[in-house]
Amino acid sequence: MIKIKDLEKYYKTEELQTIALNKLSFEVKQGEFIAVMGPSGCGKSTLLNILGMLDDSDGGSFIFNDEEVINYNERKRANIRKHNIGFVFQSFNLIDQLTVFENVELPLIYTGVKKAERKKRVEAVLEKMQIMHRRKHFPQQLSGGQQQRVAVARAVVNDPKLILADEPTGNLDSSNGNEVMELLTDLNNQGATIIMVTHSEHDAKYSHRIIRMLDGQKVTENSLI
């Protein structure tokens, strides 16, 4: 599903250039659950952003579903993104002014799904995440675990082929964290490909394969299955 080769990314300030990704290469197959680990600043999040087509790379190749997307412009990337990729963030990134229902509904609006269909799909996913009873609440009225479940609901409402999760349990206590990890595992079991950045060895154990990074490079890759 994903094939990256010699992927490079630099950050430049006035005086110095930092290498975030240094000729990074790996593959992810459809239905895999990958954990990316490494110390702060090793390039995990940069990698996730490039995989999510939120950021450009400075070199290398990125094939997504047999399509070379490295040179795609913003519009094309946005198009692939909204139909194929769902995001889960550490800080949930829900919109405070919108209700649970409206937050989850957003990706469907941007992919042009009709209203009646949206309602059906949002309710189905809220049901699945067991937060249907909270659909009229605003994010600040929910606990952290509930907020992350809303965020996951939002990430999957469009049936994305790929879910990118950036430290999804980082802001949660262990029981809420476990719940979210169970959720991701379920989704993976239902066919979604998941790439998760995490600091937690515990969370990484939910995955099939752990890629460890240092200074923008892959140092080890070990399979757990």
């Binding site: 909204k82 139909h83 995001f87 990134n93 941007y110």
Partner: protein
């Protein structure tokens, strides 16, 4: 410590150059507008306040129903009124009467010998000459620089001049004892020179002739309501007690005349201090204003400065995210909350202080343009010595500085250091509704102002596009000769004949008044079979048989005057002998006098006073002419009776000419005029210019509205820019999330403007009924007005929407193109 505060303040300003500039510029313009309007309003409120007897000084008004159509109040009165009041009422300490020289002597040439001994002639129309009782010097606080205030105006034949006139006429020479001649009248001797009157007095004159020059008859005259009568009551007198005696007073002096003409007259006292702000009577000596307009302006001034201050608050809070880290760090190292508050208040005061300094500069630069705009010497550099101005500025500095500084100061100093330093800093939603209300208010004001300006502009173009009903483009008007003898009639005919030999000249008419100017004479007329009390008020215009041809006015029924139609006084006196005084009337007069159709009026007899002593005579209507706009379109058509007297009573000669190469024709006419009337100056003007001058004050009012609209919208746009930036900062996260979830750039960019533009639309909804109300009020002053159409309201709202969109878009685009990956990670 203090030095440290200033150092930080300065660094903050330098770091945020754009925001500081916007803050300072917005505030400076707001303060400048505030100063300008406040000065204008205080100028208007101070009218006549320099008079030391202001609290006891009253004008005697006359209210009567003479001529039907209800009661009308005049600012003028009969010359005997004030004299009799002084005789009858012990409360009256003194009185003064003034009358326009035009009422007594009409137009004339004023001549004098200048410093070089040359005889200089000037047309009196350019001067403000009144005939006044000697007591006017005391009542109106006229300060004599030369001459004695007690005696300067006591003798007949005395005249006193303003400093400006004395200087203009006689230069450095002592004017006392100099002679001024008004045509053939016996000369007037200059007995005094007075300080120029202030601009803000309701009664402005630059020459006064002694009332005693008129003779003693004025003390007994009760049928000439053209004199301004002022009385000074003894200090502490209740004017109501004096007014209570007026009904008996009126009965005593006017009962006979009231019975004869079937009308009622009442006298009233009007405090002089109220005249400029409240009085709108007939025959006002100068144009007055209305208190409401001034209050309205003052409210605008207040709002403009409020808008500017709130902009400051918006911009400061918008920047607070960037200041949060500074606050957090300072708190960690142990700074007290009070010290933080002081720092932010100091910043606010500093911004206000810089803005005030800039505003003082701005106002000083715009003194001249502003004076020219309003047509009055309202502003001068001297205003900076007025403690009131500084009181206002200090109030702006402290109230504005502290009010505007307090909100950001408390919000910023209240940040929790740990949350801020951990980057988990969120801004509260508090104040959002305040800001929204403010944006709605400032845009409602801007929209109302722009709508007003737009409607004013529409009314002006409507008026300019209107057919006036007469030829205004091809007419040159010359001041008619005033130095005349018994041969003038024949001389004038020959003069006309000579001019008409020029093929470029089409027609010439000699008249008492011209279209585009208020007619001086009005009186009561009625059909011959009607009773006196059925009479209606009509204006009387003396013309000759070429008037219709020269002005291209249509004749609707009957016939025009012919050469032999002119009537002399003798014939009026002898009318009982079967001779006829023929008149024409206009369409409105035919209707007002009660004729069924225009043709019905032809050959019918009407009665009106024909001699200056009020003797009535009968006249026959020979023609009805179409209505035309005698005055500006502010005034409705009114009844006019056209007379054709054979005696010379002319003020203007109108020449209808081909206007190509006009200068040559004008020079030729001048040459002929000089030959025929060597003692009169050749003064001419184009009727069109003269007509347009009627709209000058409206045009000025329009410009002032336009100026304030532009400034208000500019400041409001600055505010919106501030709010836009604030929301952009606040909403960047939301924009990023939406982008991640698949929103394209347009969908994201439009998000902030959409909510702000909704506010602007809401302002439009609020402003529309308000501007509709005021527009209707303003237009109701015009007898002929443009119809209000929805476009007049939609266009300004669209314009403001456009400006608003432009002012928020740049910041929104900036927020929308933020890399969501980077931003959300930083969050």
């Amino acid at each position: 410590m203090l030095l440290n505060y200033f150092k930080i303040t300065l660094r903050v300003f330098l770091k945020n150059k754009l925001f500081t500039t916007i803050n300072v510029l917005g505030l400076a313009i707001g303060i400048a507008v505030y100063i300008l309007i406040t000065q204008y309003v205080s100028f208007e409120l101070k009218y006549d306040q320099h008079l030391s007897h202001i609290d006891d000084l009253y004008r005697v008004t006359l209210t009567s129903n003479l001529g039907g159509k209800g009661y009308k109040t005049m600012a003028t009165n009969h010359p005997a009124v004030a004299y009799a009041m002084k005789e009858d009422f012990p409360e009256v300490e003194s009185y003064a009467r003034l009358v326009d020289r035009n009422i007594m002597w009409g137009t004339f040439v004023l001549s004098y010998e200048d410093q070089q001994g040359n005889l200089v002639k000037t047309n009196i129309n350019e001067e403000q000459l009144f005939i006044a009782d000697s007591t006017v010097i005391d009542l109106f606080d006229i300060k004599l620089i030369k001459g004695h205030s007690e005696t300067a105006l006591t003798e007949g034949g005395s005249i006193i001049l303003s400093e400006e006139v004395a200087q203009r006429f006689f230069g450095t020479e002592d004017p006392i004892g100099k002679m001024l001649r008004f045509n053939n009248r016996s000369p007037f001797t200059v007995t005094g020179v007075f300080e120029n009157l202030p601009e803000n007095t309701h009664f402005r004159f630059n020459m006064l002739v002694s009332f005693s020059s008129l003779g003693p008859w004025t003390e007994q005259t009760w049928i000439w309501p053209d004199f301004y009568n002022y009385i000074k009551l003894k200090p502490g007198t209740d004017p109501a007690l004096v007014e209570a005696k007026f009904p008996d007073f009126a009965k005593k002096y006017l009962s006979e005349i009231m019975q004869e003409h079937g009308f009622e007259a009442r006298f009233g006292l009007q405090p002089v201090k109220d005249i400029h702000l409240k009085s709108h009577h007939i025959n006002e000596v100068s144009a007055n204003t209305s208190e409401n307009t001034l209050y309205f302006l003052q409210i605008i001034a207040f709002f403009v400065i409020l808008i500017a201050l709130m902009n400051f608050i918006n911009l400061s809070t918008a920047k607070s995210t960037e200041r949060a880290m500074e606050v957090g760090l300072k708190k960690v190292v142990g700074i007290r909350k009070s010290a933080l508050i002081i720092q932010f208040l100091l910043e606010s005061l500093a911004i206000n202080l810089i803005s005030i300094i800039l505003a003082i500069g701005l106002v000083s630069i715009f003194i001249r343009p502003f004076n020219e705009l309003v047509g009055l010497e309202i502003l001068s550099l001297g205003m900076w010595t007025d403690p009131m101005v500084w009181m206002h500025l200090l109030a702006v500095l402290f109230v504005g500085g502290i009010l505007a500084g307090a909100y950001p100061a408390f919000v910023l100093s209240g940040f929790k250091p740990i949350a801020v330093l951990k980057g988990r800093f969120h801004q509260s939603n508090k104040g959002v509704s305040t800001r929204r209300t403010l944006v709605i208010t400032q845009f409602a004001i801007s929209i109302a102002l722009i709508t007003g300006t737009f409607i004013i502009h529409n009314q002006f173009s409507y008026m300019q596009d209107q057919e006036l009903g007469y030829d205004v483009e091809h007419n040159l008007v010359i001041n008619a000769p005033t130095v005349i003898d018994s041969t003038i009639g024949r001389k004038m005919e020959t003069f006309k004949g000579e001019l008409l030999r020029d093929p470029k000249i089409n027609a010439i008419t000699v008249t008492k008044d011209i279209p585009g100017k208020k007619i001086a004479l009005d009186n009561i007329a009625r059909q011959a079979h009607e009773r006196k009390e059925e009479g209606v008020n009509c204006d009387f215009l003396n013309i000759d048989h070429d008037f219709l041809k020269t002005y291209q006015i249509k004749l609707l029924a009957g016939r025009n005057f012919r050469l032999g139609d002119a009537t002399s006084y003798d014939r009026i006196k002898e009318m009982d002998n079967g001779k006829t005084h023929r008149v024409m009337i206009n369409k409105v007069a035919a209707q007002t006098l009660g004729f069924q159709t225009l043709k019905d009026a032809i050959n019918k007899k009407i009665i009106f006073p024909m001699l200056s002593d009020g003797t009535e005579g009968i006249a026959e209507i020979i023609g009805v002419v179409d209505n035309y706009h005698q005055e500006s379109l502010q005034t409705d058509y009114y009844p006019i009776i056209y007379q054709n007297y054979s005696f010379y009573d002319a003020a203007y000669i109108t020449v209808n000419m081909n206007t190509s190469n006009a200068q040559q024709t004008i020079a030729n006419i001048g040459e002929k005029f000089g030959e025929f009337f060597p003692l009169d100056p050749y003064n001419y003007f184009f009727l069109e210019d003269h007509f347009n001058r009627q709209y000058e004050s409206d045009v000025k009012f329009g410009y002032i509205c336009l100026l304030f609209s532009i400034l208000a919208i500019f400041i409001a746009a600055l505010g919106l820019f501030g709010l836009g930036s604030y929301m952009a900062v606040k909403k960047t996260k939301e924009l990023c999330i939406r982008k991640v979830l698949g929103a394209n750039l347009t969908q994201v960019i439009i998000l902030i403007p959409k909510s702000l533009l909704t506010l602007v639309l809401l302002s439009g909804l609020i402003a529309t009924p308000i501007s509709y109300f005021f527009a209707n009020e303003w237009l109701s002053d015009y007898a002929f007005r443009t119809a209000l159409s929805p476009w007049m309201f939609i266009i300004p709202i669209s314009l403001v929407l456009g400006i608003a969109a432009l002012s928020v878009l740049p910041e929104c685009i900036k927020a929308a193109v933020v890399n969501p990956a980077k931003y959300l990670k930083d969050e």
